[in-house]
């Protein structure tokens, strides 16, 4: 499903441009995935487990080798890890600090790598996030570990934040705090975020663009607003006709009832018996993925 992020942001420079990312890992293939993050915007990457979100992010960060594709950061090829990483902050699903390190010492150890590291800000964020400075990292709860990762990612003043499933396993309060922290980060119009998650509600009200991955393929790229405007849920009784059923993504039938998702442009195919309703981001992702699986099965 084609989409050009730049339709909305044609004059906006890209913070991140990855094209044709292809990674083979055992049986899994990340197949020529493109990712664009315009400067000043939040891009949410969604999809089920195993869709390729983490592999895409690792390919962007150079953590896995690509068989093809390239990555540009702020208009420059991101071939040198040192130069690339100086401009980005990374938060992954779990903290990547030694469990023996004390929370306060993480800033000392990591900060020395960045000329722009702000130790006062790190200390302030520890207080703001209610993180116990003298506790070892291994003793932190999942939510505290995530807040520590977020604090570390912010303190060298990155222009781009890349987050991979940061909210997985967090309670609603911790998730809300993280999303609020991202909103504060985005107050600066030069900041950008790439945020992968399978909890799509985190993206509502935060993401400007959304990219759906499934089975190593990019199945949708567009603005979140377009996504909601483009699709609707449909359900009805009886046979709406062959053309109408073909237009249903993720069609499910039980007895004489049918349900699924359609493009709003196809709504004229359905009679008055069919009931249309707005689709949430979750609904759209589920049905797009389901439709992809149905196609693979030849349904």
């Amino acid at each position: 499903m084609g989409y050009a992020v730049n339709e909305k942001t044609s004059a906006t420079p890209l913070a991140l441009r990855a094209e044709g990312l292809t990674v083979r890992a055992g049986d899994f293939l990340l197949d020529a995935v493109d990712v664009e993050v315009p400067t000043g915007y939040v891009v949410g990457m969604v999809g089920p487990n195993g869709a390729g979100k983490t592999t895409t992010i690792k390919a962007i960060l150079g953590m896995v080798g690509r068989s093809s594709g390239f990555v540009e950061l702020f208009g420059e090829p991101a071939s040198r890890q040192a130069a690339r990483n100086a401009q980005i902050g990374v938060v992954l699903d779990r903290p990547f600090f030694s469990p023996d390190w004390r929370v306060a010492s993480v800033g000392t150890r990591v900060g020395r790598f960045y000329p722009t590291w702000d130790a006062d800000r790190f200390a302030g964020l520890l207080r703001e996030f209610r993180l116990p400075a003298r506790t070892s990292v291994g003793a932190l709860s999942r939510g505290q570990g995530m807040r520590l990762s977020f604090a570390v990612a912010l303190c060298h003043d990155p222009r781009l934040l890349i987050l991979d499933e940061p909210t997985g396993g967090l309670d609603p309060v911790a998730r809300a705090e993280l999303v609020e922290g991202l909103r504060e980060f985005m107050v600066d119009e030069n900041h950008s975020v790439l945020f992968s998650t399978h909890i799509t509600s985190d993206l509502d009200g935060l993401a400007d663009f959304i990219q759906v991955l499934d089975g190593g393929h990019s199945t949708y790229r567009g603005t979140l607003d377009d996504l909601h405007a483009q699709f609707a849920l449909v359900q009805g009784v009886g046979d709406p006709g062959r053309d109408a059923l073909r237009a249903v993504l993720g069609l499910r039938r039980a007895r004489d009832r049918f349900e699924g998702m359609i493009r709003v442009a196809d709504s004229h195919l359905f009679g008055r018996d069919a009931e249309l309703s707005a689709a949430t981001t979750d609904d759209i992702v589920v049905h797009l993925v389901r439709a992809g699986h149905d196609n693979e099965k030849g349904l």
């Binding site: 953590m63 080798g65 130069a83 990483n85 990547f96 600090f97 990591v110 020395r112 790598f113």
Partner: protein, 214 residues
């Protein structure tokens, strides 16, 4: 690289109990087997504990951290080799100190030939041990490579015990050393060979680490 080295050396503080245990082992064996043996034993200890750094990497997912920091993987490899060689220097100082102290306790004095030879033997042990271990750890990480990491210490231990049980070999060796004094060309060649082996190991480790999926 200095920042990575500082981070790696900082990690050594967390291993102080293990380092103390190794130091105690050195003193014990040094006193038991003879003063000169404290020096190669220090090298053996260094090879034994080299894997700890990779264990810490794995426990803390530090390879992921390194991949997010503004340092390249080449820097990580060079920094790690430097850390381990600095460990060897510290171990060598301890080994030499134990050897000297042991002599002070009434044993025969160590001649310069024996002292230099034992230090060269120590360096050979470290160079060969690390040259085998470190590329494996960089390629596979601690868990997958830990058995490869055990090979050099086991080979060294078996060889050491075999030689150690044949007192006549040791006495003959000591006599040769005493008789010829310091053989600069031989020892220099050994050191140069070790440097070449270590350099080849660094190149192999870098090539393997760059390809590793994190």
């Amino acid at each position: 690289m200095i920042h990575f080295l500082a981070l790696d050396l900082h990690g050594l503080v967390g291993r102080r109990m293990r380092l103390l245990a190794v130091a105690a082992m050195l003193i014990f064996f040094g006193i038991d087997m003879g003063p000169a043996f404290a020096i190669p034993l220090a090298a053996v200890a260094c090879v034994l504990i080299a894997s700890d750094l990779f264990l810490m990497d794995e426990r803390g997912r530090l390879d992921i951290l390194y991949a997010t920091l503004p340092v390249g993987r080449t820097t990580v490899v060079l920094g790690r080799y430097t850390t381990v060689l600095l460990e060897f220097l510290v171990a060598a100082v301890i080994g030499n100190t134990v050897a000297m102290l042991d002599v002070d306790f009434g044993r025969a004095p160590l001649g310069p030939g024996m002292l230099v030879m034992m230090n060269v033997v120590g360096f050979v042990i470290v160079a060969v041990g690390l040259a085998v271990q470190l590329p494996a750890f960089f390629a596979l990480g601690y868990t997958k490579a830990r058995f490869v990491g055990l090979v050099p210490p086991v080979v060294i231990a078996v060889a050491g015990l075999s030689v150690g049980r044949k007192a006549d070999i040791l006495q003959g060796l000591a006599a040769i050393v005493r008789g010829r004094g310091v053989s600069v060309p031989l020892e220099a060649a050994a050191v140069a060979g070790c440097v070449i082996v270590l350099a080849a190991s660094v190149l192999a480790a870098r090539a393997l680490y760059v390809r590793r999926r994190l």
